[in-house]
Symmetry: D4
Subunit: 226 residues, 8 copies
């Protein structure tokens, strides 16, 4: 196979076409620092190649510009995600996506939509944080059924620890930048999660719903035997 | 009692109706990361339930939108607080709310309004910081009469220590993000307060007037025998 | 009253004899940076004055040296506390001191012994952290009976939030330096506690069991009507 | 079931006997802040109960003291781990444990021994860091076969990103405190790992080989269909 | 030579005319904190003196204002650079400028344009980051030919280490502020680069493409025997 | 003297009229967090009292509003300073205000105008930073003549050290927030100045030209025998 | 004058003999990172030159080794200072050195001894911190008489602000590393002091009693007309 | 070539024999985290291979143990470096190694010895820091002759900026951990160097004399035409 098959050279970017073979899943595009022109070229190249592609941290403006050129793209505003789904994906297994509060929902949606795009069923449990812990306890038996659990929380970020201590599935914790003062834009929640004494929980970057969704999907599908 | 009694499921939020019984006081809503639509649903549910509710860090725009649907809500712009007061609350005891400077007043008002909402009398002592300490000394005999003292200060944040050293009431210190340069948005004041050698003072998060008011009220009312 | 009555001048220190009148409680001595010679002079002066005194962060070596000169002093090694109790104190009310883990016990003991020295009954609930939350739930009804609750925890420091969400008493949270890596010697637990969404909890410095015990006692005794 | 069945009250600790049922695996003991006397009581209680137990961050001195009372305990000095294996565990699946350098081996061993204790086969790939990347490439086909990969690295911590970009298994990255100067005791490696653009990698606390091994085992055994 | 020859006094600035003689290259102007009026005076003085000059971190607005007075200035928007080229410069040797991702291109362009302005040939290799490492490997033989390599990367910043481990030319690493959450505006990439175990790489400030380009040019031209 | 003489109670502020007697100089008003209404009341009260007053970090909008009510106020836009000069001040002695670069001038002007307002002669030496050190050497003999030297610098902040090593007058260093990347908004310059090995230099907060000017004036006038 | 007159070349050090002429005072030696052999050579060279010299942060062991070769050196253990006084110095003016607590005394002594060595009278006011503020008030009239005040404090570091607000002399604040937990080895006190709203106070590095003493002496002697 | 030729598998380490071919220079061993047994195996393997090798951050104890098995190794205690020189290296070109103070010499020696080992002539200029800048000026004409300059400095770390502003050779700056208080173990010097406005200087990790020496040698030899 020559390079033209392995990746497409766009000058400002080199699209990793071999990725699907090597890593098992199509590529994702981080839209935040890209111009409209760059995004249109990237999505067009994937469309041409017949590949699915997901764009994260995309604004509605970016979506509208791409939409003018590639009619098949779809947008989820809450999760800030653009998807181009050319090949249908069969969803397998189950992931639970939980949030501490209402403010954490955008990041939770980024995780949930990513996991769905790559092939997982997702059930959402929102606003079950530790300040009213009976809300979590009402749901815990359902949450336990998931192959993988994503715990999204800002401020003190204790949600992941509490859940992890009550289940036997792997938990991926996502700190969010929700909070103020000494939350230091998510640093507080990040440190809480890294220092959890509840083993079986791993952590991703602040506000990185995408990686949580990707990683959870990867584990879930392997457990589901895909 | 079934779950519908304990909390109301709104999808994006689960309202903690049991809270008043469990914790002694009605719920508070952190407005900062919520959409207008979400806030209207939340306030409506509390109104329906016949509960008082307080919304913090609310903008005037959020208030105006809620007001269109729930005429009983009131707004205090300085403290950025929306209240819905259905059941009247009898105020007990006394809390002193002090600030180092004029810039600390919005956070002090958040504390004062919260304490009043939950049932305390509040007396305000503003701009009595350490750079002109005779202003504090003139007031100290009055401040001493309060069951609980809230000390709100930014920059170097020394106000709490000075007051604590002169009284025998518990002091709750609130660092504010007032300042610049190495104040690091309130970190300097926070560290000053945590490291105070004047025992009897505890600390809340930077700019967290709400928790200071809530905690002071809780202590004050217990001292007042409620 | 002249200065000799208000404080005693030792050159390296000025002992605050007026304190008991002004603040309601006798003085405490931070032993960590003091020489044996300084400590002996300080404890002797308080003995002479007929005052109780408590020394914190004291080593067994410091205690042994003081003991040679002042036979009445007592030492608690776990809490690193020296006490000289000349006037008996009647204990009032009740404080619950809780820890997340076994490693937090020394700081919890510092808090508990301080509260007892200044006049509170203390009940200890150790190793009830969030990784096995049923242990906490078994005790929560007892913990709720206390006038004030002290929650001592290192690592992720979530204990305080969980307890606060289930009680209507004021909670004082003490982060400890237990942990490693990104616990950053207690910073992680401190931030968790400051950013708790469970209102009614205030925070003291990392490992500052003394201030937690002092503040809790002050509140407890006022609630108990002393 | 009453509390005596759910956990054993030792005063300073409450042993979580229900854990194995709830979480799928026996308990682990963090030895670092415990006295010999406490450790002997804890290991004795587990032995009495007929449970396996693993002790982490244990010194040789701690082991020797426990060994005097419980002959069955074993010690691995490199990984600082004490194990008491009463019920045999059948190992399933395969985990790859990789290190960037030789200095990362103790943490890698903590991870590997933990994963083996809880029931995984482990293959070790040490000293394959990015400064001589052909060493990694020689092994990558073998590493790809593992169900889960643990990447242990200090200093710049890039190992995890490189591996993750070349495999389709989940990767758990462990930053280590190896390094000096601006490595800030592992902070540099932690941040590198959290900010990786190679999705599918999650992170644990600095030097937390135990949690990496526990989480990897949990995922591996689920993939292996246990 | 008197002072008027060595620098020109503008009141708000003193232009270093002796620089070219002392340091080998004409002066550079940091435009970010300067007013239009100041910039016009500075560029006019250099033009009068017959000197080339480069302005960095310049906005299109600043350029437009200067252009009104000095027609010879040129602007590169991607690299935010204004140049005034009065004396032609002969380009020597070769520098490779590489980026991890597309978002790093503006800083890479700042570096590349600077190096070209001061007299180097530059070849650009963009979007060859570690998440799809085969893209780098395809280019490495070309990159090796350069006298100096500049590696520009944000997020985890591992690009520089990987390249340095495969070449025998000096590498200058430029961390960028691309990323979010715990990237802390480039701090993560900076620490990664400083802690690289691949010797032969040195580092410049976050987003400082200018210094990377300047330093690389200086080394390249000396190697090229200029 | 009663309280009305010592300070004026405005509710939101308590104006320190005794200050001039106690501290030797009239009061200063930090305008940044004050409303127009508050500023008008404050300046009016000082005018009524016949006191001079200086307002720092004031916007042109704030000035315009005050000007409508108090015609005597004056504004310096570069230094963001409002002054009301009712009693004339005789300037004594001499202070040198130096900057590293052009971007540091606004903070330098804040310092210079403050020192002039309180009664010092000021000579300005701008853009004499260490990258072209001959510019500093040309001026050093003049700088040496000042009673006090203020060194204002951002980025690496080395200016103060260099000057201090060459003079025998006290130097006050002001770090500025000029810079980017790892300058961390002035932290880099602050640390450089605090760690200077050139003894005789003291430091103020980042961008705190006001305190530098105040302190320098205080020392200068005492040296000048006022 | 040739170089041999301006400084003495020792290979590992170049002694600045011209300093006394240029800066007004003899040189100081930072002993912390020097070997005994280096210190002996340095002190011998100054003795030979007939210069006074002061060594800071010196251990008793270093002193004993130097003493074997240069009998005239003297040592103050509390301040960790070695002095060689060949030419007598006449003390002028007056400096007040104040501490918050007893633990700050070593740094205060470093400041006091330095100021005395370079020619100032020093009066010490120890243990007058803010937790018992009447102790400070008793002394304030005496403190006001000094030309310069040094305020040494750890923990919250508020002493300097309080004093500065009550005097019209310049204050130099020295943060100390006394404290624990979030004092972060003096960072808390440093930030407090930098952010003081009491203008007229400048700050030196944590624990840098030497620079405080040097700077205070320099100002004091200029005020005293030397 | 098969893998046995490319690297030697020792289990705990994989020795990079291909390195010399790929990178131009033999391998270096970071001794700090290695056991004696590991070091002996590593040095023996290199000896067997006939390769030169350099060990950094080695203790005298490590050296003594290796010496027992490999008589040819040599040790430099000041620079903490072990060398095994089997093939002689011809030194080319010239590097200047400068330090700010005497305490920086160990790191400077690490840099100098590394550069000499890899084939450069080195001239040392020690104790020429900015507090007595005439010492630097006396040497600057000699320093200018070097192809590359290494500037080693702790505390404020300004040395590199001053030198860079006066020469036209590339400068590599090494921050050292010399200092105390807010030097934060070299962070202050690191930030100073990264934020230098003197272009042409690049930076390595705190105390990383090895990388400075390696990088300087690499550049020097290329300039020297090797």
């Amino acid at each position: 196979m020559n390079n033209t098959d392995k990746y497409k050279e766009l000058g400002f970017a080199k699209l990793d076409f071999e990725r699907s073979k090597r890593r098992g899943y199509p590529e994702a595009v981080f839209c935040e620092c890209k111009t409209n022109e760059q995004l249109i070229k990237i999505f067009s190249a994937f469309k041409e190649q017949g590949s699915n592609v997901i764009g994260t941290r995309a604004t509605i403006e970016q979506y509208n510009e791409i939409k003018k050129h590639i009619n098949e793209v779809e947008y989820n505003e809450k999760g800030r995600i653009i998807t181009l789904t050319i090949k249908p994906i069969e969803k397998k297994g189950e992931i639970a996506v939980c949030t501490g509060g209402t403010g954490d929902i955008p990041i939770a949606e980024e995780a949930a939509l990513t996991a769905e795009f790559f092939g997982s069923n997702v059930i959402r449990y929102y606003d079950i944080g530790v300040s009213g812990i009976h809300r979590l306890f009402d749901k815990i038996d359902d949450i336990r059924k998931a192959n993988v659990i994503i715990a999204v929380a800002g401020m003190e970020g204790a949600l992941g620890s509490i859940i992890t201590g009550m289940v036997n599935s792997p938990v991926i914790a996502v700190p969010t930048s929700i909070g103020y003062g000494s939350s230091f834009k998510g640093l507080s929640a990040l440190l809480t999660m890294l220092n959890s004494c509840a083993e079986g929980m791993t952590v991703v970057n602040i506000d990185n719903g995408f990686n949580a969704g990707y990683s959870a999907n990867q584990i879930n599908r392997k457990i589901a035997g895909v």
